[in-house]
Subunit: 239 residues, 2 copies
DNA sequence: AAATGTGAAGGATTTCACAGCG
DNA sequence: CGCTGTGAAATCCTTCACATTT
């Protein structure tokens, strides 16, 4: 349930009648939010966070676009998909924009997250300070290696995978970051889904089959970078 | 915005059985390789590596497609872009495929890479064993913190950024992974480009402006995952 | 004047569907 | 047969351009 209990305000003009998770405002460019839009929404959030810190109150589509190297039309069209409106001649209200993007990404409440696999990468993830401010809280860490279980990493104690299901339930975990060796990634992923996790961010270079997941494959990104530096001399930076 | 792709015809050469290191086929679906294709090529490489290990000699577009959750037409069309051909009724030769994809991504030679920033993430990257087999060698590590310089991480000794330029030159470094705090990322990126690095894989959640780079923003990926798990119940897993 | 909101145009990418080959 | 190679169709995404709003 999205709770937009902000006081009415002249910048914000959304139809927030009964927004159940799957319903969309209808002054939007109707239809489902395109994947390309979703991916840009996360970038807008990043920039808007900066702007808010600097005390900026409004932002125009074209200034925001410039910061990201995209077109202003693209920005406006993305905002329409999530039903955000601005003010002609002035722009969009930064604070509202942040709330509405968060809301449409399912980030109005902090998402409770776990890390599975306490190798170098898993430990780095646990200690990374940037999650909290972007909507995620790491509530537990897991490994199978008995030598690692019970050890403190950051400010969490590593637990056995046997405790997975109960932790997911009692702690209301929704997402997991999977940082285990590729050989076991699929197997552990199945355990995660069956324990009730709803999505996995997978750092192993493997497909995970049926469930909901996103891969982060650093070597693959390097390979794409390699291609760009070879072929086009004047390529646009992207992310 | 301006689309300044200025790559009409660079070098066009055949690469069927005659072998010449850097060649670009012409029985391709002419024109530049689409970004979407490039990103899938890296995934094909991953799967093909597995298949090769298992001793498979050929693979059909549809079996490969199934493994990645995409369509076989997509696979065939991607292969056409890089001028790879298969055999009717049989499929594609795994070993050749690997070579040709590597070739078209600029990976026929190992790419010499550095890591800048020896925090938790930088150290995890240095120790990650998966780069070598996918075409990258980490040849040096850098930090600015005097307490870290001279320290051994993995099997490299951390160097000062002052040595950057000379290392890039003498070691023929082409790519860098940037794992420094967001506040200094842009500044360090400029140093990297001016030292002669041709592409940067940026782990800080910031845009880097003009040069050639790709961002890996873990929190942003989590946010996209969050969206997917909220909205569509029957979403396709992707990467 | 400055900026939004949006049809319509234009590209890019994906998928279809099927002829033809081994 | 099974599978490739490929035009053509379909879909998705981006950008243009301009009327409209504050």
């Amino acid at each position: 349930m999205s709770n937009l209990s902000h006081s009415p305000n002249r910048w914000l003009r959304v139809n927030l009648d009964a927004m159940s998770p799957t319903s969309r405002p209808r002054n939007s460019r109707s239809g489902p939010v395109p994947a390309a839009t979703v991916s840009r929404l996360t970038l807008y959030l990043r920039e808007l966070g900066d702007l808010a810190e600097k005390g900026e109150e409004t932002i125009s589509s074209s200034r925001l676009a410039d910061r990201l190297g995209i077109t202003s039309a693209s920005v406006r069209s993305d905002f329409q998909f999530i039903g955000v409106s601005g003010v002609s001649g002035r722009g969009y209200n930064v604070r509202n924009l942040i709330e509405q993007i968060k809301d449409s990404l399912g980030l109005s409440l902090v998402q409770r997250t776990i890390v599975v696999g306490m190798g170098n990468l898993g430990r780095a993830l646990i200690s990374y300070p940037g999650f909290q401010s972007r909507g995620f809280e790491i509530v537990a860490a897991f490994d199978t290696d008995p030598r690692k279980i019970g050890v403190r990493v950051g400010h969490r104690v590593v637990q056995s995978l046997e405790e997975l299901e109960s932790v997911v339930k009692t702690q209301k975990v929704s997402l997991a970051m999977l940082a285990v060796p590729a050989e076991v990634a699929l197997e552990v992923a199945k355990q995660l889904w069956s324990a009730g996790v709803s999505g996995i961010l997978n750092f192993a270079p493997t497909s995970l089959g049926e469930g909901e997941y996103v891969n982060v494959d650093v070597a693959a990104e390097l390979q794409q970078l390699s291609f760009r530096t070879r072929s086009k001399g004047a390529a646009r930076a992207a992310e």
